[in-house]
Symmetry: C2
Subunit: 383 residues, 2 copies
């Protein structure tokens, strides 16, 4: 695979991104990051009562740009663009919506591309392993800095859904409502295996070099292969069959001795190259590991004991064709909360799009989210 040269990927702060700095963050592992930057974006206005805050949590390679004010009608301009804005499910005329870049990532919050305080060079793999709990704790520090002491709602899909779940368990009194999409109590062995295949591809790339590489000469081949493997788990067999089937690619494969390429191969390669241009390989390693290691029951005896802590009203949404977080695992969260005496709903999006439906099935999402989100104000009565 030819190496693609591209501009340095870090920092990738967007114009509207703001950030706070913390003196330090103590991680679940015992490691300390000091100082810590948490980058974020907001939409709407914080009420005087400060009780209209929605936190949305981004997925693995996502960023804080959940919505895009300049092109509100382009679903690709912000990852939840059709759901966030005036009059939308997350109505920015009423809510103050916050999205923070995860620590360990590469979009402005502290991560492997940040300068190490000792030598000013990028942390690389010297950046400690972060957990979903650490990511959530950094978000809480951000909210407190913004003067927010309670969330009207936290929402996220995939690893963002793990964050939403962790919020309800770690800080039960901080969260009124939560939406957990396409996420379960823990990743399956198959999910860990897929992540590991991607990591092996990064490790095997000579340009990875133990995590020590220049920003513009990272392990592009390895990261692209990792992305290709991950993309499989974001789609479904049906979706790939319908979109690509066995159609030939319009361009030849890069390895002529294997003959013409299939369209699905070109698609995956394109997705791989696209990620390489916008993401850091060490961040990819750390965040997939955070995903692997998350276990709802870890600090509690069982899932049920963990879910007994939940005070929020929780909407869980499974996707019929998701095989990364199968719908049964999503449903189990709601059932667990109910069994523990809490309030939870399970809804399902019937879609062939697989895991990524939480970023694509706008009409389904709108229909499910709007009433649940709006109930915040119903419960409060007229202002």
């Amino acid at each position: 695979m030819p190496h693609t040269e591209h501009a340095p990927i870090a920092p990738m702060l967007r114009r509207d991104t703001q950030s706070i700095m913390l003196d330090e963050l103590r991680l679940d592992s015992g490691a300390i990051i000091a100082p810590v930057t948490v980058a974020y974006e907001t939409w709407g206005r914080l009420d005087a009562t400060r009780d209209n805050v929605v936190l949305v949590c981004h997925a693995l390679t996502g960023d804080s740009h959940a919505a895009d004010l300049e092109t509100p009608d382009d679903p690709r301009a912000g990852w939840w663009n059709p759901l966030i804005g005036p009059g939308r499910a997350f109505d920015t005329d009423r809510f103050f919506v916050v999205c923070a870049n995860v620590i360990g990532g590469c979009y402005g919050s502290s991560g492997p591309t940040s300068p190490h305080p000792e030598d000013g060079r990028p942390y690389g793999m010297r950046f400690p392993l972060v957990s979903i709990g650490d990511i959530v704790r950094a978000q809480r520090f951000l909210l407190e800095r913004l003067g927010v002491l309670r969330l009207a709602l936290v929402a996220g899909g995939s690893i963002g859904g793990l964050q939403a779940l962790e919020w309800t368990v770690a800080f039960p009194d901080f969260v009124e409502r939560a939406v957990i999409l396409a996420a379960g109590a823990r990743l399956s062995a198959q999910g860990i295996a897929l992540n590991e295949i991607g990591r092996r591809a990064i490790f095997a790339d000579p340009r990875w070099n133990g995590g020590d590489y220049p920003a513009d000469r990272g392990p592009d081949d390895g990261l692209a292969i990792a992305r290709m493997a991950a993309m499989l788990s974001y789609t479904s067999a049906d979706d790939l069959a319908q979109r690509f089937g066995r159609s030939p690619a319009s361009r030849p494969t890069s390895e002529p001795s294997l003959g013409g390429a299939f369209d699905v191969e070109s698609y995956l390669q394109y997705q791989g190259l696209k990620l390489v241009r916008r993401f850091d390989a060490n961040s990819y390693l750390l965040l997939t590991r955070a995903m692997d290691c998350y276990d709802l029951a870890e600090q509690h005896a069982t899932d049920l004991e963990a879910l007994r802590r939940v005070r929020a009203q929780v909407l869980t949404i499974g996707i019929s064709s998701d095989w990364l977080f199968p719908k049964e695992q999503v449903r189990a969260i709601a059932e667990g909360i109910l069994a523990a005496g809490g309030q939870a709903l399970y809804r399902e999006i019937d879609s062939r799009l697989g895991h990524d439906a939480f970023l694509k099935e706008w009409q389904h999402l709108e229909t499910l989210l709007r009433p649940f989100v709006a109930d915040h104000f119903v419960a409060r009565g007229p202002p």
Copy 2:
């Protein structure tokens, strides 16, 4: 990933392997390989009437060692060991069982590790793309050389099942019975995608070098990653969950900055390293491509037209948890043959082991195969 040094992998002829040489083989692509070696093993004796021949077709990285006379009770000593032998489903007291190494492979039949006639150096990627049809045609030349003009039965699973299917369509008068396990009319877009991820990992390995590498210094990292990705499709999510779950590995991961490894990761790494010690990366590229490119309908207008050619009695066997060749695709072969006026059965193995059940579920296989295979003699009456 540390490179593992190992003995040259080619030639890997077993003691009992025999071979024939053909002056040339014209391939579906129009390319010609000359000369061509076809390596094979046999069990049992060829009857004077020469009508007791069973051809078994091996899978992607398999070889001709389907049975092992020295350790008949070790299921791992030959890939169908429990099914082949005196008194077994493929009863070598009655049948003459033949298994040929596929061309394009690395177990003695012509392939990328064979010397190129022009310079005596390994073909590498100068070896032409082979098709399932080419593989089957080489098997036919072998059988004719052995004096066999008709098969009592051909059987195979996965890419071996594609071969068995191709036999029934390409040479309908040559085949009395066929067993097609865990194979369909063509590989899905998802299956092609998985193969492509593996190939990309091989291409990206600097030691691949365009396919030109010494036998003992091939692209081990890339091939191991390819195997890891493929292994996922040979198992099921349920099987991985039951066997490994989220248990920690007994040994630490090779990348300490990511903390302890999960057992499923160690398992995949082990499977990757195991393949590297016994298989050639260029063969892997060519044979996965043969698998991708197989399309029952390619030389016929439709699947039904292709299946109209079948004269054999066909037993198709699907595996309930197979997601590489889902059971519906296996069943469709039998339904197509029946719709075209032929004789076919569909049976299902209810197993959580996934695609690889055709190499593991011995009791199920025995129960399904024995009566179908034995019918050969019933149909003929007493000798």
